[in-house]
């Protein structure tokens, strides 16, 4: 068992070991053996947005590109970009007060494969969910990101609300930030009523 664990551990480090042979240590200025997925959670009264920046390290870029560039022609077509964003969407679970929300891709930007292979390229994808009419009071939003978990590290942060009606109360994450929980309060503005005689 110990031997098996050691072997798995060595295999997990293999991309890093190989990369260290290819690149001199002094030029290790780029991400190497991890896929950074940084999510900003934007909470507005009528919508929820996930703005995700994805940066594959140089040793995992080919693995990520294999998922994106399905026809292996060395380019990312609009269809392939859309399919990848969709596969990312399937690996995300967004829940508001224990209710699953449907995510829609609203924007995406993919650098060329050559740039992604440098460890510097950033894929950007934005998802939007419509929570419906939000009740006044406390809410709990949870996000789980399972995308390419074997090679990924994560950041999840609530954006500072632009609306005074939304107040973030607390944020919790697990150790590697693959899951995050945001507790917030919605204080709707009182609806304006028009009384007779009011201009």
């Amino acid at each position: 068992m110990v031997e098996a664990v050691t072997t798995i551990s060595t295999l997990r480090r293999l991309p890093l070991l190989l990369a260290s042979l290819v690149f001199p240590s002094a030029v290790f200025a780029h991400r190497v053996d991890e896929y950074l997925q940084a999510t900003l959670v934007v909470i507005d009264p009528g919508s929820l947005r996930l703005q995700i920046n994805l940066t594959p390290g140089v040793a995992v870029a080919d693995k990520v590109l294999a998922v994106i560039d399905r026809d292996r022609d060395g380019a990312i077509s609009p269809n392939e970009a859309a399919a990848y964003a969709e596969s990312l969407r399937r690996d995300l679970t967004l829940r508001l007060d224990r209710r699953d929300l449907e995510l829609k891709v609203t924007a995406s930007k993919f650098p060329a494969p050559a740039e992604l292979r440098t460890g510097w390229g950033i894929i950007q994808v934005e998802f939007t969910a419509a929570p419906g009419r939000l009740a006044a009071g406390a809410h709990r939003l949870t996000l789980e990101n399972r995308h390419l978990a074997a090679v990924s590290v994560y950041l999840i942060n609530a954006a500072r609300p632009r609306s005074d009606t939304v107040q973030i109360n607390s944020q919790k994450r697990n150790d590697n930030q693959s899951t995050g929980e945001i507790e917030y309060t919605f204080h709707p503005q009182p609806e304006r009523t028009t009384s007779p005689g009011t201009p």
Partner: protein, 330 residues
Amino acid sequence: LFGAGFGPGSLAQTSSKPGTPTAEIVAATNKFLATLDDAQRGKVVFDFKDNAQRARWSNLPSGIFRRAGLRMGDLTRPQRDAALALLAAALSPQGYEKVLHIVEGDEVLRKGGGGRPVFGRDEYYISILGQPSTTEPWMIQFGGHHLGLNITLVGEQGTLAPSHTGAQPAIYELEGKTVRPLGRETDKAFALLSSLDEAQRKQAILGFQMRDLVLGPGRDGQMIQPEGIPGSALTEKQRAMLLDLASEWIGIMPDAVANAKMEEIKKNIAETWFAWSGPTEKGSAAYFRIQGPTFLIEYAPQRLGGDPTKHIHTIYRDPTNDYGAKWWKP
């Protein structure tokens, strides 16, 4: 630095210079522009309304990120001298020193590795947005690997936000002296952390890993919810330490500009948050963040294959006034 004649000697000459008002920065910029030919001036000066150029900055080195403006390596010696004099005028002595140390660190990186991406002191770019003016808004950009300075000036007001500083290697030898471009930031942060009692640490230390900056280059217009311990839960001494830590970024600008910003931060100290992630032993690789109503600073060691304490990224932003927008945007 940037060629013969720019070593520690030139640093010593500029380090005794006090902060300079906008008129002196304008004069230094005009002197630099006067050294250029028409083609070079066409490359270095952009319209102040050029938002694409305004946002064209990064932590990334040349070859990976395409900058515009004039490349230092393409300038003649007098032109480089004038460009550095412009920077010396636009920054505080300690800010100018920090910039030179970051650039020189990249030269160390170049000598140690080479190839692509391209590193080194020649790979830094300068650009001017608008016309140098003592009354109208204009901007100086200077950047390359681990450096993205965006200096906006409007009359006697100025801001450095948003700007990126970084270092790799974060410690190196230069002419027999040990250089740590971001050493004061690191030491002051550990000193502040060590001053916290157990209950304060429980608030300040985030219970999860932070693998990078949250609002690094490319995240213009975004701001996150503060976390950690608020200034209201710190002692007077700890608040002073927090302000002193923040001054490492604010103080890159000349005294007049930096002092005004520090006063603003001091007024909001109760609502200024300090957060920490990672080990707490002095000198270890840990992330920290300082965030108040009008600024955000992040410091993130980079786990990119080498020793993360030797590769640091930082960011400084102002959610209320990035690029000085509140002074000139309708």
